[in-house]
Symmetry: C2
Subunit: 409 residues, 2 copies
């Protein structure tokens, strides 16, 4: 008799769903569609030559060690390099503060493993990063949502949400995916203070921090936390778990990211990683170290910034020219995404259907809202398409929107 | 105030422990210790030249695509290559049956995610693979243990254990880690039949299947299951989830393994993987495909077999010569480990202390027993050390054992 697998699955698996976005992306992957739906970095900016040379060097320098099992916490020289990088952004950290993960998605999963009991509330921005919701839904998380505006999470609403007793606060302070907002310095300081006052830890997700195209760099929430609690030691022992990644600095296909956190949190994460996948590829970690050790990444990030800045500027210009008057959108100072808002009552999912007919695509905003809502909103990616395609795609989308909003009005 | 992280951790994290073996390995990593404690493949057999050439080819053929985000289920040509490999071992499979994971440890974790509710019983061999216990403890698994002998799981004891209502059966049929036993054909057939009769799925973990040094290849449990249920279709839809890995065929540092399972199980696992780490490194998958596509792995496995066969033979010869009469041990037909049994009442943990003084190490057997016991047993690895070191190490261990067992007697 055929095995009825559906009756064998655990509770958590019965509620597992494929990401709405991943399913949608399949629709938009027809080659003639200009897609602003995905979240891919531009492959033109991947440092192919440097990576190829790094591969050779790794095999020459380390031979078989590069292909052998490695330490669960990560390749030490890479963790030291990250600690130096972190120090340059003023946050003191030692390798004991750092874990290498197989992409930031894995770090989000480990945070779920470590902290979330079924029914625990997580304080998130609304809208927020979909991958985090997906990781934490598997652990039975519930959410308390705090809305965002152009300066990020509205901290005036934070205090009420903190009184719901969340397990931790999840915040993307820089060029937030999906909204594109940056948390102001004042709000960062208020966030650190309130989190300390209520005794609630902060998870700071910062994949895009270095991809700033205008405005001034702002200190990380982790640094402000260290400063607030006068954590002047070399080792960070504060209230923040900070995540970042090589996916946007080098290339996402290597699956390399890192966590900076107090050593006792890192130790627990190492145990989670032992059970989850033993360790991240030795070869990939060594290659990333070889690419980065001489300071190449700083130079390379400048090149990425100039490519993405042009794309953002072109998209914003074209939106000004082609989008109907009733539309509002964010003007991100960095990152890869901006957020479009149609008038209340408009339906982005329906607009997407017409848009696909015109061969252009975006992601409707509902999926990013843990508390529902946002039916009139959309996320647009500006990092992946060339300026020419952005011009053409925004013109098409503008025409679609004008038609839809006339109907709607 | 300092964040009291220990009060923030979820139930599952409070019980997380570092692997006993990993902790022990740190002790045995002093350079002058001959360690039979680890589970490493011999780095001498890693195909460095072929891998280096493959890296170059991947970057030439695929350029930036090798460094971009990839599909969650894995690189299609690699999945097709695995399907062909599986067919050669008579089990019909299509890419819809195959998921690429970041090492088999990740597959074990996903099986826990998909199937284990807190308190669910898993039927395991005793002793069994420690990494599986570690992965499933995180999901609150309990165990029903079936003892093994030289022909693997004692199926006469299986039926009683099946009446405990286990969620699934976990079996390592070939050269089991840690015991070294191989499940006989007759027992494989009985296992398939009983699992079907009781409606309980089987997880077949087969990292070493191709590393056979003597005796005849036996068909996989998955194949016998397909045959039993006359699953003659091209696609496998049976009762077995089969795991294997490139860690022992190519190199573990790449973190590449695969699952063969019915398509509806694979689909759920893909959802688990989306939340866990999005996908396995695109570059590594392409490189493994480039190394393997022309049939190189078959040739390479012959070379690995001849290296490991010699080491196994040397270890067994030396044990005959140097171990005290009261010792018993398994004589594995393949794989990387054998199992030593001192008389009842002897304490392997204590013997290890004396062994380390003589600069030789092994793993005491208790950790491999989900139901306790095995204090008089030990696991010895024969794949990592050179024949010279094996000679010297077994002589030292023999002296240690003779001394300990005299004391003990």
């Amino acid at each position: 008799m055929q095995t009825p697998w559906e009756y064998r699955f655990a509770h958590r698996a019965q509620s597992m769903k494929s990401s709405v976005i991943r399913e949608l992306l399949k629709l938009t992957e027809q080659p003639d569609i200009i897609s602003f739906a995905g979240g891919l970095p531009a492959p033109e900016v991947f440092p192919l030559k440097e990576f190829e040379e790094a591969c050779e060097r790794v095999l020459t320098l380390h031979g078989a060690t590069a292909l052998q099992y490695g330490a669960t916490d990560g390749y030490l020289p890479l963790r030291e390099m990250i600690a130096r990088h972190t120090e340059r952004y003023k946050l003191s950290a030692t390798p004991a503060n750092i874990l290498i993960t197989s992409g930031s998605q894995q770090a989000l999963d480990f945070i779920g493993r470590l902290f979330i009991n079924r029914g625990d509330r997580i304080l998130v921005e609304s809208p927020t990063y979909l991958g985090a919701l997906q990781a934490w839904n598997a652990y039975g998380a519930q959410y308390v949502a705090v809305p965002v505006d152009e300066h990020g999470m509205i901290v005036e609403e934070l205090e009420k949400a903190l009184r719901a007793g969340p397990k931790f606060i999840y915040v993307l302070p820089n060029f937030q995916n999906p909204y594109g907002a940056t948390l102001s310095l004042e709000r960062r300081q208020m966030l650190v203070k309130l989190a300390d006052q209520y005794g609630v830890p902060i998870v700071e997700d910062d994949p895009y921090g270095q991809l700033r195209y205008s405005g001034e760099h702002l200190p990380s929430v982790a640094y402000l936390d260290a400063q607030y609690r006068e954590n002047g030691d070399h080792e960070y022992t504060g209230n923040v778990i900070y995540l970042s990644t090589f996916s946007k600095l080098l290339a996402p296909g290597l699956r390399l990211a890192w966590v900076v956190a107090p050593p006792n949190v890192i130790q627990k994460m190492v145990m989670a990683k032992q059970a989850a996948d033993l360790h991240t590829s030795s070869f990939n970690q060594m290659a990333a170290y070889e690419v980065g050790k001489g300071g190449f990444i700083d130079e390379h990030v400048k090149a990425i910034r100039s490519v993405y800045k042009e794309r953002r500027d072109v998209m914003l210009e074209m939106m000004d020219e082609f989008f109907p008057e009733e539309m509002r959108w964010t003007k991100p100072e960095g990152g890869m995404f901006l957020w479009g808002m149609m008038p209340e009552g408009a339906d982005a999912a329906k607009v997407l259907e017409s848009a696909i007919q015109r061969k252009v695509a975006f992601v409707p905003g509902t999926a990013f809202h843990p508390d529902g809502g946002g039916a009139n909103t959309m996320r647009l990616n500006f990092s992946y398409s060339s300026p020419e395609l952005i011009r053409e795609g925004i013109a098409r989308l503008g025409a679609t929107l004008k038609e839809a909003l006339v109907k709607n009005g």
